[in-house]
Symmetry: C2
């Protein structure tokens, strides 16, 4: 029996929250979705597109009567939003989030929720697109994607199971990791690639003829830089929240870049072939993994 | 009236040469395609797939009677192949290539061809895929792509026009650049992204848990690293042939990465937002350019 939600409250109503609402409505597992957003335009768009049934500017009003509250704001807003929500959340309601970093979100949640931390089930759906905002929300954003839960020792097993059922109803598979394991892995496979794509574009446009150079890019350029179009506020927060792991991964990249630089400068064809072969041999067999894993116990 | 080729000779019969043959056959502008390849298996596959009409192990035999000779070997083989071909090339035949670097190809062609350099029209079709080899050749590889010609002062205008017509018949638009302008631009928008994608994968798999980290990658990882699956021999040659421009571009990337590193370490949210905004603002409006330009005169 899938978990059914009577009233889902979104705190923040952008691409992620809006898409979750549309996906759950599509699945028929939610009766009513309400949202808190600061911007009247956002609520207007969300109502007009049928993303939400009611919109509020106040967290207190939005969470009142909800059985699931989903934090879908930039991660830096976690503590303040949960602090404001807590007094108005019904007994038995579950709190969860969609943040791309987990150690900082869990720390903020512990500060904001105190003894109620067990009600917060941290989650990170691995999905997105370059366009942000509720106007780009779509019901299929999570189809075939993965959502990572990083359950806490304080969570009730049934609550974790319910949030898992929610994300499965939204179209994604669900795996579990520890918050620290999550942050290390996603620093490596998501945050660093974003940082590197941003830096690559900046290195290009910092050159006098950078704009002209960019027009020469082909399909390889297009794909390599797609993630450089990401939302600045969202990625600022993610990179800062996970700065230690991102810097650690950046140092691995820098070491590998330096190997290439020295090899090129020396004109060492054999060493260059070995370096490229290593990368190519690891990347060729790679495919998006759809199997579910559980690394949440360490 | 499109340029018609009676007998096209491919020196090398891999993804690029094979796809050119299929594209020209599709367009009906070539009567017969022959190829020189060292490997019997390659010629067998090319014949079996209808990519070529005749296969040879000798350059002399392949180019005899051809009106267009296309060098489609790794760029490091240019000088030796042209030297071997020259005595057997018919009067009036045009020589061209598909190399991803142009200054080194032109230098090698000058050495090999001497006073006949005017017969060589350098070309670079901006197309490809991760799989190499004639077994992956396809007629639509160049559709909607761009081919860059870097004509030489010694070329007859009519020969350049014929090679342009050939690539247009194969499905691509054709622009012109100088060899030096080409190498600088493609170091920036193609060679460096490949190097960075190779280095990123190496930095990942050099870590003890690198294989496990890689399984966590999502769609962003997939697209950012797609080009890291490139053929090692081809990319070794390209990076070596264009090493000075690639190193120059790598230094721009390193400077931009270092800005990110310092900003992250300082926890400077405003500066980080500015860095990401710069990249995002330049990448968002970017699209594959289909307009034709001419930068071949400087």
């Amino acid at each position: 029996v899938p978990f059914r939600v009577r009233r889902l409250a979104l705190l923040g109503c952008g691409l992620m929250g809006g898409s979750l609402s549309l996906a759950l409505k599509r699945a028929g597992v939610v009766e009513q979705v309400v949202a808190m957003a600061r911007s009247p335009q956002t609520l207007h768009t969300a109502l007009a597109r049928g993303v939400i049934n009611e919109g509020y500017h106040s967290i207190a009003q939005a969470v009142t009567g909800a059985d699931v509250v989903v934090l879908a704001l930039p991660v830096a807003a976690t503590e303040a939003a949960l602090r404001e929500a807590l007094p108005h959340v019904a007994d038995g309601a579950i709190l969860t989030d969609v943040g791309s970093t987990k150690r900082d979100v869990v720390s903020a949640a512990r500060v904001a929720l105190g003894a109620s931390i067990g009600r917060f089930v941290p989650a990170h759906p691995i999905a997105g697109k370059e366009q942000s905002g509720v106007e780009h929300a779509c019901a299929d954003l999570f189809d075939g994607r993965r959502t990572i839960l990083t359950p806490l020792a304080e969570n009730a097993a049934g609550d974790v199971q319910r949030i898992q059922a929610l994300w499965e109803a939204a179209g994604s598979s669900v795996s579990r990791m520890t918050p620290a394991g999550h942050d290390r892995a996603f620093a490596a496979v998501s945050h660093l690639p974003h940082l590197a794509a941003f830096a690559y574009i900046n290195g290009l446009v910092n050159q006098a003829d950078g704009a002209s150079l960019m027009t020469k890019g082909g399909p390889g350029f297009r794909d390599f830089t797609r993630i450089a179009a990401g939302d600045p506020a969202i990625w600022r927060d993610i990179l800062l929240a996970n700065a230690d792991e991102v810097i650690d991964q950046l140092d691995h990249l820098n070491a590998a870049l330096n190997q290439f630089r020295q090899t090129l400068q020396a004109g060492d064809a054999d060493a260059l072939h070995r370096l490229i072969s290593q990368a190519s041999a690891h990347r060729r067999p790679w495919t998006l993994q759809h199997e579910v894993w559980d690394e949440s116990t360490s």
